[in-house]
């Protein structure tokens, strides 16, 4: 009997162990296994949110999304992949390379996500593909959203572009690697505003990663539209004005800081860096010696030339160094030490006072004024006009200029300041550097009575401005003198006189650069001004590289832009 009892005890013990084990797995650790079961069969797929559109002041769409037509394959449905590939090569022999390239990438896409095999189908190709779907159920036409810029390169530097977020770009909060995010321009500054929020599908997959069902976890929330003050008419005018020349044109409202025109020539093509053909376009852009990717409005730094003279005039009046009526005789050159500095007018301007010196842009007058002020006082007054700081324009990567001083020379160059350099600085040459955007802001401050408006392309947030500590009398004097530049028959910009009246200053800055290995010294042409003369509303800067004199190469375009802006 003992053996029978032992047998039964063994059976009972065995069942007790199993029951305990069952309890442990299902009741004690059940929640953990439940989580594992969920992870087993849920995959998350994002639904891209349509990016916010960008609008011009007249209501033209500058950036939008269009529905592209892609050919995709559902690998779950795929029969013989080789046969499908061969057939695609037969129907569209000219796209065989693209099919091959994309086919190789297929292994990187999970099977429950349709894989793009041809992007941007032509309208004629769509019906051909629809026919093939009868034989190849794995084929499908998908309609994803793509960013487009209907005006092409016209707004490229203002709008920027978008690209896939790379692992290094951690600045775009909330975006994931692979998302399309703004890389430059407004697309970058207003990334959060424009992006919206991607939606999410929860895809239920089986043990072979095949899609069984899907649930909408969160719908996509569209990006917010962005309204700007940019005007297409001004941009078209600027593009035509520049032709093949490089340069920058900017027009802004002197009170609100709203930017009406932000054009850098040449622009770059508005092609997204995706497919094969686009990459060829980008290679061409990067190889272009004119550097189309450089934003010449707020990222290119230049010697300001004569447009800088207003700063010296203001400094002289405010410091009481020279009065407005103090006269200087200009024989066409100025001897300093053993070096002769020439006036642009070799014949000389004769006797000039401050107003006349600005009107005719007399270099000799300003050489002497510069020496009377000294570089540190020039530096101090340039700094008061904000020339050492950024303008704060709502675009990324803005550059600051350089205003030299004795301390700067010691600190950066390690040599004492040489007074002869002050002579150059006085006419905006030498180590002085600034941007077109900054000059525009300074002239806006002169025009509006002493506040630096923070330039804004987008109509977002309240206008910001910064007070300039310059007396109203001095600014009124400068406005009058800048008016004479255009109004006086001897003024350097007299040829652009018309209605509505404008005021401004020409500039011609000497440059040393190389073109195809040879030194090339044709000057950059500047015009900085505002309009209308009596009651200014807009400020404008035109900078044209290697184009010669500001009066000929920059002033007419600036005048045309301001007149168009005031209409």
């Amino acid at each position: 009997m003992k053996k029978e009892t032992l047998f039964e005890a063994g059976v009972i013990l065995g069942f007790a162990v199993l029951l305990l084990r069952l309890f442990s797995i299902q009741v004690r650790h059940g929640a953990e296994y439940d989580q594992m079961a969920l992870r087993n069969h849920f995959r998350y797929v994002s639904i891209p949110a349509p990016r916010g559109t960008i609008w011009s002041a007249e209501g033209a769409m500058l950036a939008s999304n269009h529905t592209a037509t892609d050919l995709v394959v559902y690998r779950e449905e795929m029969g013989d992949p080789e046969e499908l590939k061969r057939r695609l090569g037969e129907i569209l022999p000219y796209r065989r390379d693209e099919v091959e390239a994309r086919w190789r990438q297929m292994a990187h896409t999970p099977p429950y996500i349709p894989h793009i095999i041809l992007s941007d189908l032509e309208e004629t190709e769509v019906p051909l593909m629809e026919l093939e779907r009868v034989r190849f159920p794995a084929l499908a036409v998908s309609k994803p959203m793509r960013r487009i810029y209907p005006y092409g390169e016209l707004f490229s530097h203002a709008l920027g572009y978008i690209a896939e977020l790379s692992p290094e770009d951690q600045w775009a909060v909330g975006a994931q690697v692979g998302d399309w995010v703004g890389k430059a321009g407004l697309e970058r500054t207003y990334e959060k505003h424009l992006r919206g929020e991607d939606g999410r599908w929860a895809v239920v997959v089986d043990s072979h990663e095949r899609k069984v069902a899907r649930y909408l976890v969160r719908p996509a929330r569209d990006g917010t539209p962005l309204r700007t003050g940019l005007r297409t008419a001004l941009h078209l005018m600027a593009r035509d004005g520049f032709g093949t020349d490089s340069g920058a044109a900017v027009v802004m409202d002197i009170h609100s800081g709203e930017v009406l025109c932000y054009y850098s020539s040449p622009g770059y093509p508005a092609v997204l860096p995706t497919s094969g053909p686009a990459q060829a376009v980008w290679r061409q852009v990067f190889a272009d010696p004119r550097k189309p990717m450089l934003d010449r409005v707020s990222q290119g730094t230049y010697a300001p030339g004569s447009v800088f003279k207003v700063v010296l005039a203001a400094a002289a009046l405010e410091e009481g160094v020279w009065g407005p009526s103090r006269g200087v005789f200009c024989p066409g050159h100025f001897q300093f030490g053993n070096r002769a500095f020439r006036c642009w007018n070799r014949g000389g301007h004769g006797g000039v006072d401050m107003k006349r010196a600005l009107t005719v842009s007399c270099d000799v007058y300003f050489y002497q004024l510069g020496l009377a002020l000294g570089v540190d006082r020039i530096h101090a007054w340039a700094a008061r006009f904000g020339m050492e700081a950024r303008t704060g324009v709502d675009l990324p990567f803005e550059k600051t200029g350089l205003i030299p001083s004795e301390a700067w020379s010691q600190r950066v160059r390690g040599v004492p300041w040489y007074p002869g350099e002050t002579v150059s600085v006085a006419i905006g040459q030498g180590p002085v550097l600034t941007t077109a955007m900054k000059i525009c802001q300074v002239y806006a401050a002169i025009a509006n009575g002493g506040t630096l408006p923070v330039p804004r392309l987008a109509r977002e947030g309240e206008p910001r401005r910064q007070r300039v500590e310059v007396s109203a009398v001095t600014l009124a004097f400068l406005r009058e003198a800048l008016g004479e530049v255009v109004a006086d028959p001897r003024g350097t910009a007299h040829r652009v006189e018309g209605v509505p009246t404008i005021a401004g200053k020409t500039g011609t800055s000497q440059v040393m650069s190389e073109v195809e290995g040879r030194p090339y010294t044709k000057e950059h042409a500047w015009f900085a001004g505002f309009a209308p003369r009596e009651d200014p509303r807009v400020a404008c800067v035109v900078l044209r590289e290697h184009a010669g004199h500001g009066s000929v190469a920059a002033a007419p375009l600036a005048a045309a832009l301001m007149r168009e802006a005031l209409q």
Partner: protein
């Protein structure tokens, strides 16, 4: 009681009146649960399993009416027949999943090894009609089918047959020396089998069991998915729609060897424990019938069948709960498969008759 009663000496009416409720109702409930689980996981296998169920119940009724004694007396020819069938599988059966286990006779696919288990029990019980049963005969009867099944090779079934043999040996009066000899022999056999007989996947299963970190292969995956299925069922189960482990086919063999995991996922701890309880009740009822049986052959038969069921139930569930290596051991009455289901019903019939036998004696 001078006359030994081996034949059907009592009336059939008595056996019908003393139809044991446990030996019929417990298998019936388990079989019904199996049909339900097959219906929800592999509906295409359902008609076949329904036919096997009907055949099984018919067999149960027939055996109950004819009496287990008849089968014990004619166990030798039965034994001979199945040894021949096992031999035939070695020569004529197609290789399915690495072994020759299935005899294909037109539409009928027969797995003689499954039937060998109760038949071996009958043949061994027969030895006890004229006690004392000789150890040599016991070993001889056991080793022949064991060797044939190992040659298929089907490790799980061989171990199940070994269990039937082990129960006999357990009740034998054997010396310690004998135990050592047999243990050494078994060890030698195992070594031999490891070197020459086991397929790589069988070795893999054993290694997975011995070294769990080794389990990156398929059997590791299967054990993990089984645990997830069982665990995620929690207390009350996930019901039909949410049983993702089985619905989405993460769990392999969900209507055959791993049907208990399917049950645990859908019906939770409550359902799984209920089925476990039914099995415990059934097996303890078998040992109780053996204990109450006055005849040594019937007693041994009851214990051997109890051993056979215990092994299948416990090993299968332990496998589902990732306690033992995975091998082809189906769950009685629940797993899909005709040969095994009918063999189980046949065994239940023998036990039903055995239990009724007591009442017959009082009548005569």
């Amino acid at each position: 009681m001078s006359r030994r009663t081996t034949g059907p000496v009592f009336g059939r009416s008595a056996r019908l009146r003393h139809w044991d409720p446990v030996f019929f109702l417990a298998p019936l409930l388990l079989n019904a649960a199996g049909l339900y689980l097959i219906a929800v996981t592999a509906p295409r296998a359902l008609p076949a399993q329904a036919v096997f169920t009907a055949a099984g119940i018919a067999l149960f009724t027939a055996v109950s009416l004819l009496g287990h004694g008849l089968f014990v007396r004619f166990s030798r020819p039965l034994y001979g027949l199945f040894v021949l069938l096992l031999l035939a599988t070695l020569f004529f059966a197609p290789v399915i999943a690495g072994s020759r286990a299935w005899l294909v006779l037109g539409p009928v696919h027969l797995q003689p090894a499954e039937w060998m288990k109760p038949v071996l029990a009958l043949a061994l019980a027969e030895l006890y009609m004229r006690p004392p049963a000789k150890l040599v005969k016991i070993l001889l009867l056991g080793i022949v089918p064991l060797g044939l099944v190992l040659a298929q090779p089907d490790l799980g079934t061989a171990v199940a047959l070994g269990t039937v043999l082990a129960v006999t040996l357990y009740f034998q009066r054997i010396s310690l020396r004998m135990v050592v000899t047999v243990a050494l022999l078994a060890a030698f056999l195992f070594l031999f089998a490891w070197l020459f007989l086991f397929k790589p996947y069988q070795k893999q299963r054993i290694l997975t069991f011995l070294f769990p970190s080794y389990a990156t292969s398929h059997s590791g995956y299967q054990a993990k998915q089984s645990l997830i299925a069982v665990g995620s069922g929690r207390l009350t189960g996930k019901g039909m729609a949410l049983s993702t482990q089985t619905q989405l086919r993460f769990l392999p063999a969900q209507h055959t060897d791993f049907i208990f995991a399917t049950l645990a996922e859908r019906r939770g701890f409550l359902g799984a424990a209920f089925v476990l309880g039914l099995f415990a009740l059934l097996i303890l009822r078998m040992t109780a019938a053996g204990r109450a049986s006055p005849e040594p052959d019937a007693r041994m038969l009851a214990y051997m069948l109890a051993g056979f069921f215990s092994f299948h139930v416990m090993y299968n569930i332990a496998m589902v709960l990732a306690l033992v290596p995975i091998t082809g051991i189906p769950l009685p009455f629940l797993s899909y498969g005709g040969s095994f289901l009918t063999a189980c019903w046949f065994s239940a019939g023998l036990l039903n008759s055995l239990a009724a036998r007591r009442y017959g004696q009082y009548e005569s």
